[in-house]
């Protein structure tokens, strides 16, 4: 799985969490980095932050999909309905508002990877 998140402390927490349950995990801190990683190694699950230094995280979905990544989940700090709809329209299967409780993240990531 691939996490696209520009805050290193949030990224390190999620890395610890997902590696501890046995997921192979990469992180990217920008859209450009995510796209490069996606080409080298397509991800079955991409967790996307929306506010990235080089633009709207949703812009990474199309190039990542083209290079073979499959399932996209938005992890956002915005809890409004408009943001939610924008993420779903862009192709996310789910929109979760940060901080997502870790138990929920683990349980849900199993579903996303299975589905």
């Amino acid at each position: 799985m691939l996490l696209v998140e520009d805050n290193e402390h949030v990224a390190s927490a999620l890395r610890i969490l997902f590696e501890s349950v046995g997921h192979r995990f990469s992180t990217a801190a920008s859209i450009a980095e995510a796209v490069a990683i996606g080409v080298a190694e397509p991800a079955r699950l991409v967790l996307l932050d929306l506010t990235l230094p080089d633009g709207d995280g949703l812009a990474a979905i199309e190039p990542l999909r083209e290079s073979g990544s499959t399932t996209f989940v938005a992890l956002t700090g915005h809890d409004d309905a408009a943001t939610r709809q924008r993420c779903l329209d862009a192709g996310c299967v789910e929109v979760l508002v940060k901080p997502v409780p870790v138990r929920e993240l683990i349980a849900r990531s199993r579903e996303w990877l299975a589905g």
Binding site: L14, L17, G77, P99
Partner: protein, 283 residues
């Protein structure tokens, strides 16, 4: 404002003197208008800043809470009972801060007219039940009794459920905070059948400390707390009722309080069965 005070001076001058006086007054008025426009623009910028900063505060808080939950859940190894207690303290404090930041964000969006409604149909009794369930731990801690009086036969409302829940949550939170241990709080919903447009009235009442009538308007104003001294005994952003008012008014409803000092408070708000059209669009 002081510069336009001279407008009240008697205009008894004649001829050219009077014309130049009028011109001077006009110039002053224009200047004042420019100044007001500038202040408004600066106020809007501040509101936007508040919205941005409160949003940005969520990111480091996410890091703190997630790391602490990883420790709490033993993902990095088991903790001793005292370590666990300490980590739980970090999580509770973090979540409390997150809620306060969320309130500021909601306030800032409301002030900038960036709130819009996402209405669905639901029964108000469901919201009252949900809010009371969320407040269960606090009620228990203060040994308060809560009663809910809302028939499931009341008409459903077409409203933004999350926002109505937010209003009831803020009012119930206050009721719990300002009611001494052993007291009573209650939630009630009734049909305001004789209102010009059909609406429900929701009441959040308590047997607590009450609010003196001279403060009844003040408490709905932004940043207002009846006791604003540094030693004030009650905490919070002071935005809870301002936000409640904003969210109620967005639905086309009204909010008010009936209370006297020492004999409890009853907060009421109305929700029209259908929201006003102009609240549905927006960013």
């Amino acid at each position: 404002m002081s510069r336009v005070e001279s407008a009240e001076a008697p205009l008894t001058l004649s001829g050219g003197a009077s014309e130049s006086r009028v011109a001077a007054l006009e110039a002053q008025l224009n200047e004042a208008a420019v100044e007001i426009a500038e202040l408004r623009a600066r106020d809007a910028l501040k509101t936007q800043f508040l919205a941005n900063i409160s949003h940005d505060l969520r990111t480091p808080l996410t890091a703190v809470i997630t790391h602490a939950e990883i420790l709490r859940d033993g993902i990095l190894g088991d903790l001793s009972p005292r370590q666990l207690e300490s980590v739980r303290g970090i999580i509770s404090g973090g979540r409390q801060l997150l809620n306060q930041v969320g309130e500021i964000l909601t306030y800032a969006r409301g002030a900038a007219n960036q709130l819009s409604l996402v209405p669905t149909r639901f029964g108000v009794h469901e919201v009252l039940r949900d809010v009371s369930a969320l407040s269960e731990p606090l009620l228990k801690k203060k040994q308060l009794s809560l009663t809910i009086d809302a028939s499931d036969r009341l008409p459903e409302i077409h409203a933004d459920r999350e926002k109505i829940q937010h209003v009831v949550g803020n009012l119930l939170g206050n009721a719990i905070e300002f009611t001494p241990a052993g007291g009573r709080v209650w939630l009630r919903a009734t049909h305001a059948g004789d209102a010009p447009t059909s609406a429900l009235i929701v009441e959040v009442g308590d047997s607590g400390v009450g609010i003196s009538p001279e403060h009844h308007d003040l408490i709905f104003r932004e940043f207002a707390q009846v006791d604003s001294s540094a030693s004030r005994s009650h905490h919070g952003t002071g935005l809870g009722l301002t936000i409640a008012r904003k969210l109620v008014e967005l639905h086309g409803g009204r909010i008010w309080v009936d209370s006297t000092l020492g004999s409890g408070s009853r907060f009421f708000f109305t929700v029209p069965l259908d929201p006003p059209d102009d609240a549905l669009s927006g960013s």
